[in-house]
Amino acid sequence: MSEASNPAGTRYYDTMDTLPKILLYNAHERKDRTCMREKDLGIWQTWTWSEMAKEIKILACALAAKGFKRNDKLGIIGNNRARLYWSMAAAQCLGGIPVPLYQDSTANEIIGILIDSDVSFIVVEDQEQVDKILEIWDKCPLIRHVVYEDPRGMFQYNQPFLNDFESMMALGRRYDREHPDFFLQEVDKGSGEDVGVFLFTSGTTGKPKGVVMTYNNIIITARNTIELEKLSQKDELIAYLPMAWVGDYLFSFAQSYVAGFCVNCPENTETIEADRREIGPSYYFGPPPIWENLLTRIMIRMEDAFWVQKKVFHFFMGVAKKTGARILNKESVSLLARWLYAVGDILIYAPLKNALGISNVRLAYTAGEAIGPDLFDFYRSLGINIKQLYGQTEAFVFVCIQPDGEIYSDTVGIPAPEVEVKITKKGEVMYRSPGVFHSYYKNPESTADTKTPDGWVYTGDAGFFDARGHLKIIDRIKDVGKFSSGELFAPKYIENKLKFFPHIKEVVAFGNDRDFATAFICIDMNAVGDWAERLNLSYSGYASLAGHEAVYQLIRESIEKMNKDLALDEKLRHSQVKRFLLLHKELDADDGELTRTRKVRRKFINEKYPVLIEALYSNKDICRFEAKVKFEDGRTGIIAANLKIWKAALFGSDAVREEK
């Protein structure tokens, strides 16, 4: 095919080792296939591969005309917009490096990243982002040009370094006419060893670090996972998670290029629900809170339904719970159960999935934090193949993934293709894969701390392989302790497991250097209050409810259920909670017990409640405690309470040991 008929100048490469080369391949091979949609003015604007390649070429020419050189860094800030994805590609075509940033960061948060990564060009979405850049303009001398996509409100600005997207495109077209061979020559210069992108870590554990990824990292990982999950050009994806996040870069950019599937950009952040229904994605990623929100909304709406509908709903959800997940796992299911499930599908499941816009979801991922088994089972019982994966920015997402048919809510599955995982003596998870990052940009010390010379990466997470060969992540390695017997004690793991019970809000587990595990429990006032009302239990407030025998009984049942679970696990069976108490007040950030993001401050609690902790490890079954509290108006007072301490039954060999 002559190049004239392919305006983007498509061509084959023997080695498709960079994303720009793959782009040109797609523009040739899949030229009439839709690869990008973006909803604008109520209509899904659509681009095919050849159209998109053309836009990217013009944009690259425009950047070059403005002086963008090989190895220059291009910052990108904004929501998921087609043009911002094109900017990433355009920079890569020129041998530059895109640096996507979180769009909701403040100006002060992005300044460090912009300076650290030597960004000289920035493409932003709108006025809001332009304002941020202007705020820090004087502190970033390297930045030469800012391009904005949405001209709304920009007429007031006359800074010479601000460029409107449309005028950039006009400039690009002119440059392309004057230098017709320029674009292809630049793409030809790229190779797999080149740096493809800088992805910044979230910075929860310190200053954000720029993770350098080469095309080899990116493309091999994308290929492996596409093969594993059988993704194809027929898949549809909604791009709605931050562009700066490694997952979005892999799913909405790298995998889309390699597999050739279509990426859909929602109209704006508030229309995602409606947009999802319109698109019907087949491939979907959502962190646990997103799945949780969906479920909560269904349940709340069902509460308002007519009683007949409610009855039918709950009956068939029961059916789904029993058979749905087993059908999905291809286990043997009786004909009757299958028939019932099919009826339920017509009456409930299919309409429900349609309302949520997940009818077509063939493959869904969740990751980031532990997901509750109920939540997980709910979606699987509806026939949605939701899987957990375990990953890191440094691994280019994939470390472990749950294989089809072997899904357990408490593990993260087996190592992804070409990924090796091992556990250090201390219990830390390490991995090595083709996706392992090149280095942290301009930070050799951190690189050396994280990555060994032969390519193994420390994750900072403690975990182990269970009997089925699945990796179980239990905690951050620095939080994991040991019992006096030397056995592993993972407080966070116990706490998370208990928090999945609806009546429990917060848990603090103890056990480091002790003989057994104990816990403080904070009940969930709403859930337990509701429950108490239905049973006609009278109570006057949080403390009185938490002191109720029946509530203790309720919580004990939950703990024993968890203990039973833990007893099955060779490594965790010692972590069964033996004694517990219900705190007379909720843990509160105002009292310093939680951080503002509601994480338990373990050290502070150890200092504040030594009496209670000691009581848990004594024979007492009641303990008097006085605590200072801060009222909402700022005054302080003292609350005294007599807290009961209860025992929970242990299971497995620990129970036997106990009896001796």
């Binding site: 003015l41 109520g42 209509i43 709304r152 409100g153 007429f155 007031q156 109209e267 704006n268 508030e270 229309t271 409606a274």
Partner: protein, 285 residues
């Protein structure tokens, strides 16, 4: 008078703010007068609602009409809008002096408005409501529209695009298909503004667009009104009770009291005016 001082503080809260209204950047410079109101008097039986009121409105300007309750503010809008016919005086809009005309004529001339009480169609979606604002621009006849033939289809697509642009402008895409009756008050007000904008007015009359709103909704509304004024260049006459809002966003202020114009000028000048202070606070005994 103690109460007076207190009232003073609350009523004129906007005054102390250091914002200079004329420092506001804008795309269009304020131009020549486009609407002249000359010696207008309006009475209902023996009650005089407006007495000899004259002022003009300049192109691209944001003019506020303020005054105590019953001062004749809404009557003034109704006169400009062609709903009421003044007994005396004349109104010239873009060089066209009118003697007697109805609301339909004024809409054709390019005057659109919103109402003090929301006047939307609660059962229709946001899109359909805003689409009604484009009624005057549609040329297809009844038959064509009913059968969706001839010009109707092309027109529908064109007008839908215009409506979508307004949805985008007012950030109400997430509710485009929601029936208006189900929306909260603040959003309904925004939809009403959208419908007025759909007529692509040269002069926009806003009757208490922020009444009954909370602080956040008011801030949003102010932003949109300023955007309409700045980006679309629409001339706006605004009636509003919130003094802070009026002082912050308007270019000039007309003060009415008992149907008479007692002051006109920049917000700063108006709130230093002796007559205005008297009208609002009563005469110091």
């Amino acid at each position: 008078m103690n109460t007076a001082i207190k009232y003073n503080e609350t009523v004129f809260q906007g005054l102390s703010s250091p914002i200079d209204v004329y420092a506001r950047t804008r795309s269009q410079k304020i131009g020549a007068p486009i609407l002249q109101v000359k010696n207008v008097s309006l009475s209902f039986g023996g009650v005089a609602a407006l007495e000899d009121v004259s002022f003009n409105v300049k192109e691209h300007e944001l003019l506020a009409i303020i005054g105590p309750n019953g001062a004749g503010k809404s009557s003034m809008l109704n006169v400009i809008n062609g709903v009421y016919h003044p007994q005396k005086g004349q109104i010239t809009f873009f060089g066209e002096t009118r003697h007697k005309m109805n609301a339909h004529h004024s809409a054709e001339q390019g005057i659109a408005r919103t109402f003090q009480n929301i006047a939307l169609f609660p059962g229709m979606t946001v899109i359909d409501n805003i689409m009604t604002g484009r009624n005057l621009k549609m040329k297809a006849n009844f038959l064509e529209q009913a059968l969706y033939i001839g010009r109707a289809k092309k027109e529908e697509i064109y007008h839908r695009q215009k409506v979508e642009e307004i949805l985008d402008f007012l950030h109400i895409q997430p509710i485009r298909k929601t029936p208006v009756g189900r929306l909260p008050y603040g959003l309904q007000k925004r939809v009403e503004l959208g419908r007025a904008l759909a007529a692509e007015p040269r002069l926009l009359l806003l009757d208490e667009p922020m009444a009954g709103m909370n602080m956040e909704e008011k801030e949003d509304m102010c932003r949109f009104i300023l955007d309409v004024n700045d980006e679309l260049g629409t001339t706006i006459i605004l009636i509003e009770h919130d003094m802070g809002v009026v002082m912050d966003i308007s270019d000039r202020v007309v003060v009415l009291n008992y149907g008479m114009k007692i002051a006109i000028g920049t917000p700063k000048a108006v709130c230093e005016d002796k007559d205005v202070i008297e009208a609002y606070l009563g005469v110091n005994p």
